[in-house]
């Protein structure tokens, strides 16, 4: 797996200029908007896109057949994409939290629990996005994957809308749920969200493995 990780980091370095521009622009937006927490979500989510871009690089110019003759299994290939995504996402999250905290300190603001909660919420979001993007790109490839991803997001929005409508039409009282979440406290709530995120990622991993095992090259 180490060799595959090296390959993906080497491929990511091709886009280093793009990455530097994103960091600079994000820092500038954060400074001008007086809201440094923005960058945590933005940088983490942008970095998670790099995982699927390595899938596109792998398939560039019919690269997959040769790649899969190298000494690793299809299972290792899929696992590596998730490991790479986790390294990249958590790495980007840690760095952006550090930059954000530094900006708070420079601006003379205290690092509040609100900022930390805002930062932690990004992690399960990142897990869900990675979980969605990796199987979609493995199944449909880079080009079609983009459209498939848009379709997936569309479906999720529709599901959310339908759930809201059901709640509205049937006058379901969601207040006890909100109170129950509130009673958990922020730490427990974050832990539960993270666990849900990892659970979704495990399901996604299983789906990706099934997609990869069925694929012909």
């Amino acid at each position: 797996m180490k060799g595959l990780l090296i390959k993906d980091f080497k491929l990511m370095l091709i886009q280093k200029n793009f990455f530097i521009i994103i960091i600079v622009v994000t820092c500038l937006i954060s400074i001008s908007s007086q809201d440094p927490t923005f960058m945590i979500g933005f940088i983490t989510l942008i970095l998670s896109l790099f995982t699927v871009s390595t899938i596109s690089y792998d398939e560039f110019d019919n690269g997959y057949p040769f790649l899969l003759t190298l000494p690793f299994s299809r299972k290792t290939y899929v696992l590596e994409k998730y490991v790479y995504g986790l390294i990249l996402g958590t790495g980007a999250w840690i760095v952006s939290v550090m930059i954000c905290s530094l900006m708070f300190i420079v601006q003379g603001k205290p690092v509040t629990s609100d900022m930390l909660i805002g930062a932690f919420v990004i992690l399960p979001m990142f897990l869900v996005i990675e979980s969605l993007m990796i199987p979609v790109h493995l199944r449909f490839g880079g080009e079609k994957g983009r459209y498939a991803l848009i379709a997936c997001v569309g479906v999720l929005v529709v599901i959310g809308f339908v759930v809201m409508k059901i709640v509205e039409i049937f006058h379901i009282d969601v207040l006890p749920l909100i109170l129950a979440i509130d009673a958990l406290g922020p730490v427990m709530f974050m832990v539960i969200l993270l666990m849900i995120g990892f659970l979704i990622m495990l399901v996604s991993l299983k789906v990706s493995l099934s997609i990869m095992n069925k694929k012909e090259f």
Partner: protein, 281 residues
């Protein structure tokens, strides 16, 4: 080393049913027209496609696992490392993937073929890409090389260099084997111990190269000679402007019994053309 028995793969307009064997210490060639089933056979052996029937035994196993792949060097005609990588990028990748990656050999070959280390592979010429692919396949002490059109796009000198590399590779260890396909038959004649001819997904012929070059011949006869010819040892014949050309695997028989007919030594190209286009006698 490798045994393929009635490997089946069905597509809408093509079906493969192929059997072949690569013995330890052998260089085995696979020849055939474009679309004959060579690449499908290679892909099935490498586990890149699922088979619809038959069996593949490679290194004594029914499927390639990660350990077996350490013993395998592969060149695919239409696939290689991502074009966005450079040779400098792929060295640490190979070092970490292959337990027996020989970095000094790899760099020596890269320098010998004057390949640029820091240029993206997608900017390489066809010949440079072909050279890199074969260097990669040979750089980790593989026991079996599976080479699909490794010399495609190379000039004569580069082809000779690569064929020499293959000979040196085989000379280092008498248990090593190569399965190679090429549309340049002269390459195969000089390096292969035996070869399989595949056409429309079926193996038409399996023969030792020595036998092919010493026993097979093309008889060129006019219409009258053709009528009088003993066709017991004629494999295929074809109508020509001068009469008939006939492929035989008993050259000496016709030389001795028909001193007046033209007997030409045959090469793989001739045999392939006759086997595909000729009529059965």
């Amino acid at each position: 080393m490798l045994k393929v028995k009635h490997l089946k793969k069905n597509y809408a307009s093509f079906s493969l049913d192929c059997s072949l064997e690569v013995k330890p210490g052998y260089v085995t060639g696979l020849i055939g027209q474009n679309g004959a089933g060579k690449s499908t056979t290679f892909k099935a052996i490498l586990g890149l496609i699922q088979c619809d029937g038959g069996s593949i035994e490679i290194f004594g196993q029914s499927a390639l696992n990660e350990e077996d792949k350490q013993l395998l060097g592969v060149v695919l005609s239409d696939s290689g490392f991502s074009g966005y990588l450079t040779i400098s990028d792929i060295i640490p990748i190979l070092e970490n993937l292959y337990k027996r990656f020989d970095k000094s050999f790899f760099l020596r070959m890269v320098n010998q073929f004057e390949l640029p280390k820091n240029k993206k592979i997608k900017e390489f010429s066809t010949g440079m890409k072909a050279k890199l692919k074969i260097i990669v396949a040979m750089s980790h002490q593989a026991q079996l090389l599976i080479l699909d059109e490794p010399t495609a796009g190379l000039d004569v000198i580069a082809r000779d260099e690569l064929l020499d590399m293959m000979r040196d590779y085989m000379a280092e260890d008498d248990q090593r084997s190569i399965l190679i396909s090429s549309h340049i038959s002269s390459d195969l004649e000089t390096i292969c111990d035996d070869f399989y001819m595949i056409h429309n997904g079926r193996v038409m012929m399996h023969e030792d190269t020595d036998v092919l070059l010493s026993e097979y011949a093309l008889l060129k006869v006019d219409n009258q000679q053709f009528e009088q010819l003993d066709k017991a040892y004629i494999l295929k014949y074809k109508k020509e402007s001068y009469g008939y050309s006939c492929l035989t695997h008993q050259k000496q028989y016709y030389r001795e019994n028909y001193p007046n007919i033209v007997v030409e030594n045959s090469h793989i190209d001739d045999v392939m053309t006759m086997m595909i286009r000729g009529e059965k006698s």
